[in-house]
C-alpha cells in the first residue's frame, strides 16, 4: 500500500473535475437515479399495500365473525371467526403506556445531555443511550421475561394497593406481571434511544443567541430551558416521539415473549392478558393454514393503516407548529 501510493500520484492524469464535458451527463444520470429511487419507493409501498389488501380481502370475504368487534381469533377453524378488537385495544394501550413513560424520560435525558451534563459525561452518556437501540428486540424479550416480569410483581402489588381505586391499576387476577402494562414498560425502554437522540439533536440546535439573550435578562437555567429550548424543540420532540411510537406499535418479538396473550379486553392493565397485532401474527403464523395466514395479513393491514394514520397525524402537528419554532429562523 505504502509503495503504490506515490506512483499512483505520479502517473495520475491531471484532475479535470471542473471540465464541463462530463458535468451535464453526470447531472442527468444523478437526476435519473434519484428520481428512480423516489419512484421505486412509491412502487414498493404501493405493492405492499396492494398485496396486503388482496390477501386480506380473501380472508375478510369468508369471515363469519365481525372483523372489527369479534373477541376471538379462530381463523383456521371451519367456519373461520376472527376479529381485531382485542388486538387494536392491546396495541394502542401498550403504546400509550410506553409513550407516557418514555417521552418525559427521553426529554429529561436529552436536556441533561445537551444542557446540564459536563462535557466529559455527556458524550459517553449519549453513546450509551444510542447503544440501547442496538440491542435486538428478542434480547429485550428474554430480559423482560426473565428479569423484568418477576421484578415488577412488587410494583404491581403497590399500584394495586394505592392506585387500585382508579380501576386501571386494579389487579383482579392472580398471576405474574405478564400484562400490557409490563409490555408498555418494556416498549418504553426500547423506544427511549430514538426519542432521546432526536430530541438531543434538536435541543443542541437551539440558537445560542436565544439562550444568551434569556441569560442576559437574568433568567435561571431552568427558565432558559422553559422559555427558549423547549418551545424551539417542541416539533422535534413530537416527531421523535412519533418515530418511537411507530416502533412501539410494530414491535413483535419482545411483546410476544413477555405478554401472556388472551382474547379479552380488560381495562385492568396489570392483569395478564390482551394482545397486539404484531404479537398475534408472530404467535399464530406457524400453525396457520393458508386461509389463516390471509386473516393474519388482514390484521397486518390494519396495523399498516394505524401506523400510516399516526405518522400522518404527526406530520400535521409538526407542519402546524413549524412556524412557531425557531427552525426556520
Amino acid at each position: 500500500m505504502a509503495s503504490t501510493t506515490p506512483t499512483q500520484i505520479d502517473t495520475a492524469p491531471p484532475v479535470t473535475r471542473s471540465g464541463g464535458s462530463t458535468g451535464r451527463a453526470g447531472d442527468k444520470i444523478f437526476a435519473g437515479l434519484s428520481k428512480g429511487s423516489g419512484i421505486l419507493l412509491l412502487v414498493i409501498m404501493a405493492s405492499i399495500a396492494a398485496f396486503l389488501t388482496y390477501r386480506a380481502s380473501i380472508a375478510l370475504s369468508k369471515n363469519e365473525g365481525n372483523f372489527l368487534t369479534t373477541f376471538d381469533w379462530n381463523a383456521s377453524a371451519n367456519p373461520p371467526v376472527f376479529g381485531i378488537a382485542v388486538l387494536l385495544f392491546g396495541t394502542v394501550v401498550s403504546s400509550i403506556v410506553a409513550m407516557a413513560i418514555a417521552v418525559p424520560i427521553a426529554v429529561g435525558i436529552a436536556l441533561f445531555i445537551s444542557h446540564y451534563a459536563p462535557r466529559k459525561l455527556a458524550a459517553p452518556l449519549a453513546y450509551v443511550v444510542d447503544l440501547l437501540a442496538a440491542v435486538p428486540s428478542i434480547i429485550y424479550g428474554i430480559w423482560g421475561a426473565l428479569f423484568l416480569v418477576p421484578q415488577l410483581n412488587g410494583l404491581n402489588l403497590w399500584l394495586d394497593e394505592y392506585l387500585g381505586w382508579t380501576y386501571v391499576f386494579e389487579k383482579t387476577q392472580v398471576g405474574v406481571a405478564r400484562s400490557l402494562f409490563t409490555v408498555g414498560i418494556l416498549l418504553a425502554i426500547m423506544i427511549l434511544p430514538i426519542v432521546t437522540s432526536v430530541s438531543r439533536e434538536v435541543f443542541l440546535q437551539v440558537p445560542r443567541m436565544n439562550e444568551e439573550a434569556a441569560l442576559a435578562l437574568g433568567a435561571t437555567r431552568w427558565e432558559v430551558i422553559r422559555m427558549s429550548v423547549l418551545p424551539f424543540g417542541r416539533s422535534g420532540v413530537i416527531s421523535a416521539s412519533m418515530l418511537g411510537l411507530g416502533r412501539a406499535l410494530g414491535e413483535t418479538m419482545a411483546v410476544a415473549t413477555v405478554l401472556s396473550p388472551s382474547f379479552l379486553i380488560s381495562g385492568h392493565i396489570l392483569n395478564p392478558g390482551g394482545g397486539t397485532f404484531a404479537q398475534n401474527i408472530a404467535a399464530k403464523f406457524d400453525e396457520a393454514n393458508e386461509f389463516g395466514r390471509d386473516a393474519l395479513i388482514a390484521s397486518g393491514l390494519v396495523l399498516f393503516l394505524l401506523t400510516l394514520l399516526v405518522n400522518g397525524a404527526a406530520r400535521l402537528i409538526i407542519a402546524r407548529r413549524k412556524d412557531f419554532s425557531g427552525a426556520n429562523a
Partner: protein, 378 residues
C-alpha cells in the same frame, strides 16, 4: 514508542474481539438437542448395521411437527452415517406448515401431530398422482403436566381435577379436590397459575382431546389446536410454557416430557383408575398407545387413541406424531430415500432410539403394519 503501544492496544482489542466472537459462534454451534439425557454417546455406530440404504440417493427434504424434531434428528444422524451420499433434511416448523409444504409438493414427507383432515387428503391427490396422502404413526410421546409448588414433590391428579384447574374452577393448591387425591401431602394455599399455549398447537389439541374424553362435564369444550377455556395465563411454544412453570411458584402447565426432564420440572402422576397413579414416561405412554385402534382406511394408519384406558401403568395423556407420505405417486427421485429412511425409523433399532430420548415407541402390533405399508409405497 507511543505509536507502538497504541498498536499493541489495538491488536489486543482485536484479539479480544475475535475470541469473544468465536465464543459466541461456538455457543450457537453447541446447541445440540440430540444428546441423550445422560450426555452419553449416541448409539449410531451400533445401529448402523441395521440400516438398509437400498437405492437411496441425493437429497430428501422433509418438514413439519416440532414435537418429533429431536427424534427425527437422531434418525437422520444415524441414517446419514450409514448411507453415504444421501442427505436428509428435516425442517422443524409445525404440523400445519409441514402439511402445507407436503401438499405443495416441496417435501418428500411431512411430520404432523394430527392425522390429515379430509380436505387435506383431497388436496394431496393433486400431488400424489394416482394416490393420496396417508398417515404413518412413527413417534409417540407423553404430554407431561409440569408443576411448581413450593414444598410439593409429588402430585396425583385425575382428569376431572386437571380440567377444573385449567378451567379456572379450582383456584388454590389446597383445594379439597386436590387434597383428596393426595393424602399425606401438605399442600400450600398458593394460588394456582395455570399456563396454556397461546399459539395454535398440536399439544393443546391432544391435551384437550384427552380432557374431552375423560373429564366429563368438567371440560365442556371441543378438542382443538386453539385453547378455548377462560382464565389462566399463556405462553408461546412448549419451551416458553415450561420456562414459565419453572419460574412461577404455584404454576402448572403442559408440554412434551422432554421439556420437563431437561429443566427438572416435576410432573403430575395421573390417576387413571388403575391401581396406582401413573407416572409420565416413555414406557408408560407406549402402554397407552398399545390400546389405540387404527382409524384410517386402506393404507392410512391414523390412530384413534383410547384416552380412557385403565390398564396398569398406562399413561393415557399421549401424543402420536405421524409421517405423512403418498401411498402411490411419490416423486420418483425421492421415493427410494423415503422408503429406506422410513424403514429405518420404523425398524426395531429406530424405535429403540426413541425410548432413550423421552419419546415412546409405537407398539409392535401397529409398528408391524407401518412397516408393511412402507414396503408398498409407490
Amino acid at each position: 514508542m507511543k505509536l507502538q503501544r497504541k498498536n499493541m492496544l489495538r491488536a489486543s482489542a482485536l484479539g479480544a474481539l475475535v475470541v469473544s466472537g468465536a465464543l459466541v459462534l461456538t455457543a450457537c454451534g453447541s446447541d445440540d438437542n440430540t444428546k441423550t439425557a445422560d450426555g452419553s454417546a449416541k448409539p449410531s455406530a451400533a445401529a448402523a448395521g441395521d440400516i438398509k440404504c437400498d437405492d437411496a440417493k441425493g437429497k430428501l427434504l422433509a418438514s413439519g411437527s416440532s414435537a418429533q424434531k429431536n427424534a427425527i434428528e437422531l434418525w437422520i444422524k444415524n441414517y446419514m452415517a450409514a448411507c453415504s451420499g444421501v442427505e436428509v433434511n428435516y425442517k422443524s416448523s409445525s404440523s400445519g406448515e409441514g402439511i402445507v409444504a407436503f401438499n405443495q409438493g416441496t417435501v418428500g414427507f411431512a411430520g404432523s401431530d394430527s392425522a390429515l383432515k379430509p380436505e387435506q387428503v383431497e388436496e394431496s391427490k393433486k400431488i400424489c398422482t394416482g394416490g393420496q396422502g396417508i398417515d404413518l404413526p412413527m413417534v409417540g410421546g407423553p404430554i407431561a403436566l409440569g408443576f411448581n409448588v413450593a414444598g410439593v414433590d409429588k402430585l396425583n391428579l385425575d382428569a376431572a381435577t386437571v380440567a377444573n384447574i385449567f378451567n379456572d374452577k379450582i383456584k388454590k393448591w389446597d383445594d379439597e379436590a386436590i387434597k383428596k387425591l393426595n393424602p399425606g401431602v401438605t399442600l400450600p394455599s398458593t394460588a394456582i397459575q395455570a399456563f396454556h399455549r397461546s399459539d395454535d398447537s398440536g399439544t393443546t389439541e391432544n391435551l384437550t382431546k384427552y380432557l374431552k374424553a375423560t373429564a366429563g362435564d368438567a371440560w365442556p369444550y371441543e378438542a382443538a389446536k386453539k385453547w378455548a377455556a377462560p382464565g389462566g395465563q399463556s405462553a408461546s411454544g412448549s419451551s416458553s410454557v415450561a420456562a414459565q412453570v419453572k419460574q412461577v411458584d404455584g404454576a402448572i402447565g403442559y408440554f412434551e416430557l422432554s421439556f420437563a426432564s431437561s429443566q427438572n420440572i416435576k410432573t403430575v402422576d395421573l390417576n387413571t383408575g388403575a391401581s396406582a397413579p401413573v407416572k409420565a414416561s416413555g414406557e408408560n405412554a407406549s402402554k397407552a398407545i398399545a390400546a389405540a385402534k387404527v382409524a384410517g382406511t386402506g393404507s392410512d394408519l391414523a390412530l384413534k387413541l383410547d384416552y380412557t384406558t385403565k390398564a396398569e401403568g398406562a399413561y393415557p395423556l399421549v401424543l402420536v406424531t405421524y409421517e405423512v407420505v403418498c401411498d402411490k405417486g411419490n416423486k420418483a427421485e425421492t421415493l427410494p430415500t423415503v422408503k429406506s429412511f422410513l424403514n429405518y425409523a420404523a425398524s426395531d433399532a429406530g424405535q429403540k432410539v426413541l425410548l432413550e430420548n423421552g419419546y415412546a415407541p409405537i407398539p409392535a402390533e401397529i409398528n408391524t403394519k407401518v412397516r408393511e405399508v412402507i414396503n408398498t409405497l409407490g
